[in-house]
């Protein structure tokens, strides 16, 4: 490597000054040409629209009327008074609160099962991962189909002598059923993250504890969990953000966020406000609320990632 640098210095040194400057200019030209279009693209398709939606959220924005008067925080206060919005916020948190622990527990369970398995390991990993790459819409329709009043699952319940369940038809069961389908779809992803994490735990820790007489549960509780902690927190945030954004499930699995708005999420409510009531002002205010919540999650994540892993 030293020879390369020396050669290069020699090469540059032997050139006249103008040529060397030229090389520099060429380098910068290359850098900014490569970056120019993408940076402009992100400014126009990301930054500008965000600022635009903040702007809309402070206006009475009826699509049909040409006037878009500034009305201060009125959209935000009207959201607070909106029963359906509060319900959607509550439901969204329900998905987050049920989804995160469900996904983490299921993912960790599968990863632990798979950890010391040698035969068919690749097969299991592949199969568990399939739901994660399939479209939410397709998966939601399959679940809706399985969960119909006279669908396959109720058919099995009846044949076992159990009562049929309303599932998606019941305001008490529907949100949990939907959360379950979201968890089902992300187990493979979560498993993968935990498998990577488990590989990073030195085996000798477990061996040492084993010699000292620690049983499997103790080793899990006092070695595995503490050492996986950063990954658990990190995954919780990632999962939280994705549950906060649930939308396609609701469109595909429910009738308009029903029954009785029991499954309607924040994003679904935004969609209704913006594209069914054409009240872009309130809808944008609701997106700002979503943005703030997600921002809080992200900052939490950055803080977690900042902490050093301490063995």
């Amino acid at each position: 490597m030293i020879t390369n640098t020396t050669q290069r210095r020699a090469a540059e040194g032997s050139k006249p000054l103008s040529l060397r400057l030229n090389y520099r200019a060429q380098r910068y030209l290359f850098i900014y040409l490569m970056l120019g279009i993408p940076v402009l693209y992100f400014l126009l398709t990301r930054l500008y629209p965000i600022l635009y939606s903040f702007n809309i959220s402070f206006r009475e924005w009826d699509v049909l009327s040409p006037e878009k008067p500034y009305i201060g925080w009125a959209n935000y206060t009207s959201l607070l008074e909106d029963e359906a919005f509060r319900k959607s916020l509550k439901n969204t948190f329900l998905y987050v609160v049920v989804g995160i622990p469900g996904q983490l527990a299921a993912g960790l369970f599968v990863a632990l099962l798979l950890q010391n398995v040698k035969r068919l390991r690749g097969f299991f990993r592949t199969v568990y991962f399939i739901p994660y790459i399939t479209s939410i819409v397709a998966v939601s329709w399959i679940f809706r189909w399985l969960l119909m009043p006279n669908g396959w699952i109720n058919g099995q319940l009846l044949s076992l002598g159990l009562p049929a369940q309303p599932f998606l038809q019941s305001p008490d069961q529907a949100p949990y059923v939907i959360a379950l389908s979201m968890i089902w779809q992300s187990v493979g992803f979560q498993m993968l993250i935990f498998l990577t994490g488990l590989e990073g735990i030195p085996k000798m820790y477990h061996e040492a504890a084993h010699i000292d007489g620690a049983n499997a549960w103790h080793r899990f509780r006092y070695i595995t969990v503490p050492l996986l902690n950063p990954i658990i927190l990190f995954s919780a945030v990632i999962a939280g953000i994705s549950y906060l954004q649930s939308f396609a499930h609701i469109v595909s699995m429910t009738q308009d966020g029903g029954p009785l708005n029991s499954t309607r999420t924040l994003v679904y409510h935004i969609y209704k406000l913006a594209f069914k009531s054409f009240d872009m002002g309130s809808a944008s205010a609701a997106t700002v609320v979503l943005f703030v919540i997600i921002l809080a999650f992200t900052l939490l994540q950055l803080k977690i990632l900042d902490r050093k892993l301490d063995y």
């Binding site: 640098t5 060429q26 380098r27 290359f30 850098i31 490569m34 970056l35 279009i37 993408p38 940076v39 693209y41 992100f42 398709t45 990301r46 930054l47 629209p49 965000i50 635009y52 939606s53 809309i56 099962l113 010391n116 398995v117 068919l120 299991f124 990993r125 199969v127 991962f129 399939i130 739901p131 790459i133 399939t134 479209s135 939410i136 819409v137 397709a138 329709w141 399959i142 679940f143 399985l146 099995q156 992803f189 993968l192 993250i193 990577t196 061996e207 084993h210 010699i211 994705s242 906060l244 939308f247 396609a248 595909s252 994003v267 935004i270 969609y271 594209f275 997106t287 700002v288 979503l290």
Partner: protein, 291 residues
């Protein structure tokens, strides 16, 4: 180094491994894992089975349709412009993948391999756009698209996904592993910056490019909320949007069969791609934790 190091195991480790590999535990593990496989695969099997059933057998709970029929697949194309939906979905996935590959490798390369004023500002700016949920951008995108006459057009559909901040992050990670000495050597040999990028860096990045290509194809194929908002003409729908459209036909049994058939046709290509490229996909996703 002694090539046999790996085989040499301490008695403690051997005993430890044995206690884990003992029969009953292992059997239980495999039983649970196979139960998980059943839970994971059953919905797909039920979907596929339903797509071969005749409407009158809709509520027959057996997994093997009898009699099996192919006619539902034909119906897809008769009752809806399903061929167009399929082509639109493939088109969107391919075009956005190509565009993402071109731009994301360029930006990832420059951010990883050059030091210049504004580098960290640009990097932080691009990465921070990842924090903004698509759901928040839908409304301004929609209003802007309407203003520019891009609503209900392929251009409007494609525009938000042409460059991916996530992909830039991924490519930058990969590009950092390129040996700078190699690039410098090429420069000394008189290659200009563009040639260094295109004939030295890119060929070495083939595995990374493949990973990014597959990941963006999958997300392009599955994307829902923006197509759902921006497209109004039936003929321009993508598969996920089209499937939601099918729900208006749910009044009778054949509607359900159609939806399951549509789901089968839209899920199969992706599962096939996944099975072929699964190593890369799993690696790429593990590296980035994306969706």
């Amino acid at each position: 180094m002694n090539p046999n190091t790996k085989q040499v195991r301490s008695p403690v480790e051997r005993q430890f491994n044995r206690s884990y590999a003992n029969g009953a535990w292992l059997l239980l593990r495999y039983l649970l894992l196979f139960a998980g496989v059943a839970v994971t695969l059953f919905p797909f099997l039920w979907m596929a089975a339903s797509s071969f059933k005749e409407p009158k057998d809709l509520f027959d709970l057996s997994l093997i349709p009898s009699p099996a029929t192919w006619s539902n697949f034909g119906d897809l194309f008769v009752k809806a412009p399903f061929g167009l939906w399929f082509a639109n979905t493939a088109g969107v996935a391919v075009v956005s993948t190509v565009s993402v590959l071109v731009f994301d490798t360029m930006v990832g390369y420059v951010l990883a391999k050059f030091v210049f004023p504004g580098r960290s500002v640009i990097f932080v700016f691009i990465i921070s756009t990842l924090m903004v949920p698509t759901e928040m951008l839908i409304i301004p995108w929609y209003l802007l698209a309407s203003k520019l006459g891009l609503s209900d057009t392929y251009a409007g559909l494609l525009l938000p996904g042409l460059i991916s901040a996530f992909g830039i992050f991924l490519m930058r990670q990969f590009m950092e592993s390129l040996p700078s000495e190699l690039l410098d050597a090429a420069r000394i040999d008189g290659l200009n910056e563009w040639r260094v990028f295109s004939s030295i860096a890119l060929p070495l990045m083939k595995p990374a490019l493949a990973t990014l290509a597959i990941l963006s194809f999958i997300s392009g194929w599955n994307q829902f909320i923006w197509p759902f908002i921006v497209l109004q003409t039936e003929n321009k729908y993508t598969l996920p949007v089209g499937m939601v459209y099918f729900s208006s036909e749910l009044k009778d049994n054949s509607g359900w069969i159609l939806i399951m058939t549509a789901a089968t046709v839209s899920v199969l290509p992706l599962i096939t791609i996944f099975l072929i490229f699964q190593k890369r996909i799993i690696q790429g996703i593990a590296l980035s934790g994306m969706k």
